[in-house]
């Protein structure tokens, strides 16, 4: 029987974060939620409490916005205080916009690049320091298959996610020996509110199936997780394509 973990999640109110938080709660892990909207966090906290009958107690939360790096440290400190320790920090939050929207709106592009790369990295640095101070732990961050290769539909979003994936790999190499396991999750197309209204490609996944895979990766310390698993193959094929082919195709 595994010992229950103390997990702080940024982005647990929606999509894959919601599904993952529920899996943690249902198996008895203790949770602390971070996010932008206090009321929304409160509702998710109640949901997780009812589901987490194995770990009775309040699920607490704190405000944390990836657009406001000045609050990162305080939110993580609040998590540590509420949980009485910290074993894992999970980041599922991020900003998404289609390539067309980003091309036509420079301010939106700046925000997406800042949130998905710079600020997520800054947040991870804060989390890293705290986890290392406790002798290690798990840092599980949602990047994307969009960061695997420069592609027409995700030029800007993919660039931010590529930077993030690269950072997470470096972090894992540098600190794994000190007990900090870094897990980079690369979801393919998953049917969530983030992708609502987009054309659903083949191999689309459901948030709960992704959550199950990520949970297993957290337990095993798997450094890179594609979810659904078929995307590992899809992205391998895409990485192998020569440039002149990538230039021709629209994917």
């Amino acid at each position: 029987m595994k010992v229950a973990m103390k997990v702080a999640i940024l982005g647990a109110t929606k999509g894959m974060g919601r599904a993952l938080a529920r899996r943690f709660a249902e198996r008895g892990d203790s949770l602390f939620l971070m996010g932008r909207d206090g009321d929304d966090l409160e509702r998710s906290a109640r949901d997780l409490e009812v589901r987490g009958a194995k770990a009775p107690g309040m699920v607490q939360h704190a405000a944390c916005d990836l657009e406001r790096p000045e609050g990162f440290g305080a939110a993580l400190d609040a998590a540590q205080a509420a949980l009485g320790g910290l074993d894992a920090v999970v980041v599922t939050a991020g900003l998404f916009a289609t390539q067309e929207a980003l091309e036509s709106d420079a301010e939106l592009a700046r925000r997406v690049l800042t949130v998905d790369f710079a600020n997520t990295v800054v947040f991870c640095e804060e989390a890293r320091k705290r986890l290392l101070a406790r002798g290690g732990g798990t840092l599980c961050v949602f990047s994307s298959v969009a960061g695997e290769r420069g592609r027409k539909p995700v030029v800007l979003y993919g660039a931010a996610k590529a930077g993030l994936s690269q950072y997470l790999e470096g972090l894992d190499h540098k600190f794994r020996a000190q007990g900090l396991k870094t897990i980079c999750v690369k979801p393919g197309f998953v049917r969530t509110s983030m992708t609502e209204g987009l054309k659903v490609p083949p191999f689309a996944g459901e948030p709960d199936a992704v959550a199950a895979r990520v949970l297993a990766a957290v337990d095993r310390g798997t450094p890179v997780v594609y979810a659904p698993g078929i995307w590992a193959l899809v992205m391998f094929a895409i990485r192998m394509l020569p440039r002149f082919v990538m230039r021709k195709i629209g994917f």
């Binding site: 109110t13 929606k14 999509g15 919601r18 249902e26 929304d40 509702r43 998710s44 109640r46 949901d47 009812v50 589901r51 009958a53 969530t192 509110s193 609502e196 209204g197 054309k199």
Partner: protein, 439 residues
């Protein structure tokens, strides 16, 4: 990008429309004519009217907001599915007070259709156990309604097919159960007459009763079938383990429509009738409540043209005679699939458009063919003369004049609806077809 296609469980009708989902249901629902749940109503209940091109989708709004293990009071967002409630609460010895024949429905849908189940003779509809609703009404306000707060809106919403406003949150009382297993028995019944009597007899002793009828056989076999009776097992009877959630298998594609015909239905029905296990035994809740859920996408068995269900309730006075004639009619004009259920209903509940009332109910799945519409016309005329009515959540083919004559409560319901929605913002393909809403 081509318009996506929406349909109910019966795949008929199909409409070009989008479902807009969000975790933030009040935001997704704003300005929408209707909210849709898991789309398990058979016909056009969850589809937008011809000139609307989108409905809100509730399924991402699925958080449990409160559960009191003392009283069993549960409050959740309307998109929470019954399958989640079942998965989370059965191991804790709690279950929904009323369940329909599938677990793939949302709480909002259960309220909108005011669903009933095998315990209707004892516990009424789901709505009878609902204590409070949070709704977004036509003028955009979000408010709570109950038997004390805005009682008219509450009554009109139970069974109101989502046409009184967007149901955002549902609070209801769960039922405490003695174990997560059922104790049940299944008895062969030789014809429709004996069936009628068997249901009546079992009602006194068993909380859950229902019958499967072979609607394809004729003559003396007409309406033969299997009568199921069950109650929650006592802790002493129940196996120590929890019922395992079986994943089942999936029908991967639409079968050609000729696969389901009179002969194949008869073959299957004969097999099912003869292989019944009559011995009383411990029964998995899936097997009793959700026998069809084990086969995902079973609606594909009916082929591309789709199917519909005709479910009626007829008062006891002429109940037996009427349903016998209904079965004969189905056999004469077309044929029924093996999915046929008979159930006695208890008294009418408080929901102003709720389907059940005291009498006998049959539900018959029929494929969509050239004879389907005229058959349903004839069936509706038959029960209309006997004071019967149909279940909106199953319907796609009834005529407005038939439905309006079946439903003496319609005027009262419409009056309340007009007070809350004077501009007629809420509507569905079904309400345009049956209730005279502006298309």
């Amino acid at each position: 990008m081509p318009e996506p296609i929406l349909s109910g469980w019966g795949h008929a009708p199909l409409v070009a429309a989008r479902e807009v989902r969000s975790e933030d249901l009040p935001a997704a629902a704003r300005g929408m004519p209707l909210t849709r749940g898991l789309g398990r109503s058979y016909g056009d209940s969850s589809l937008p009217a011809p000139r609307d091109h989108a409905v809100a989708g509730a399924t991402l709004a699925d958080r449990i907001l409160a559960f009191d293990p003392e009283t069993g009071l549960l409050r959740a967002e309307a998109g929470l599915s019954l399958s989640e409630i079942y998965r989370l609460f059965l191991p804790r010895n709690w279950f929904v007070p009323v369940t329909p024949g599938t677990q793939f429905v949302t709480l909002g849908g259960m309220v909108a259709a005011d669903v009933h189940g095998g315990n209707h003779h004892r516990d009424g509809c789901f709505g009878a156990h609902v204590t409070r609703l949070r709704m977004q009404v036509a003028d955009g306000r979000v408010l709570e309604c109950s038997r004390e707060l805005e009682p008219e809106l509450f009554r009109a919403t139970l069974g109101g097919m989502g046409l009184t406003g967007h149901i955002l949150e549902v609070e209801f009382r769960m039922a405490r159960i003695s174990s997560p297993w059922l104790w049940g028995e299944a008895e062969q019944v030789r014809g429709i007459g004996p069936f009628y009597d068997a249901l009546g007899r079992a009602a006194a002793d068993w909380p859950f009763t229902k019958g499967w009828i072979d609607c394809v056989s004729r003559g003396k076999n007409l309406g033969r079938g299997i009568m199921y009776r069950a109650r929650w097992a006592t802790p002493a009877e129940a196996p120590p383990r929890l019922p395992k959630h079986k994943k089942g298998f999936s029908i991967p594609f639409f079968l050609p429509s000729w696969v389901l015909n009179r002969a194949s239905a008869r073959l299957y029905n004969g097999f099912r009738y003869r292989t019944n296990r009559p011995k009383p035994r411990i029964v998995h809740p899936d097997e009793f409540f959700y026998p069809l859920d084990g086969m995902r996408h079973w609606n594909r068995l009916f082929g591309r043209p789709g199917f519909t269900q005709w479910q009626c309730v007829v008062p006891h006075a002429n109940g037996l005679r009427t349903i016998t004639r209904a079965l004969e009619l189905v056999n004469k004009r077309g044929f029924a699939s093996p999915v046929c259920v008979i159930k006695d209903c208890g008294p009418e509940g408080e929901g102003l458009l709720s389907f059940p009332k005291l009498g006998i109910s049959i539900a018959i799945d029929v494929p969509v063919r050239s004879w389907t519409r005229p058959l349903i016309d004839d069936l509706n005329e038959l029960i209309l003369a006997e004071g019967g009515r149909i279940y909106l959540a199953k319907d796609a083919f009834s005529r407005p004049e038939h439905f309006q004559k079946m439903e003496p409560r319609l005027a009262e319901w419409q009056a309340i609806r007009r007070r809350w929605d004077p501009q007629g913002r809420f509507r569905s393909a079904q309400s345009v077809r049956l209730l005279g809403d502006q298309p």
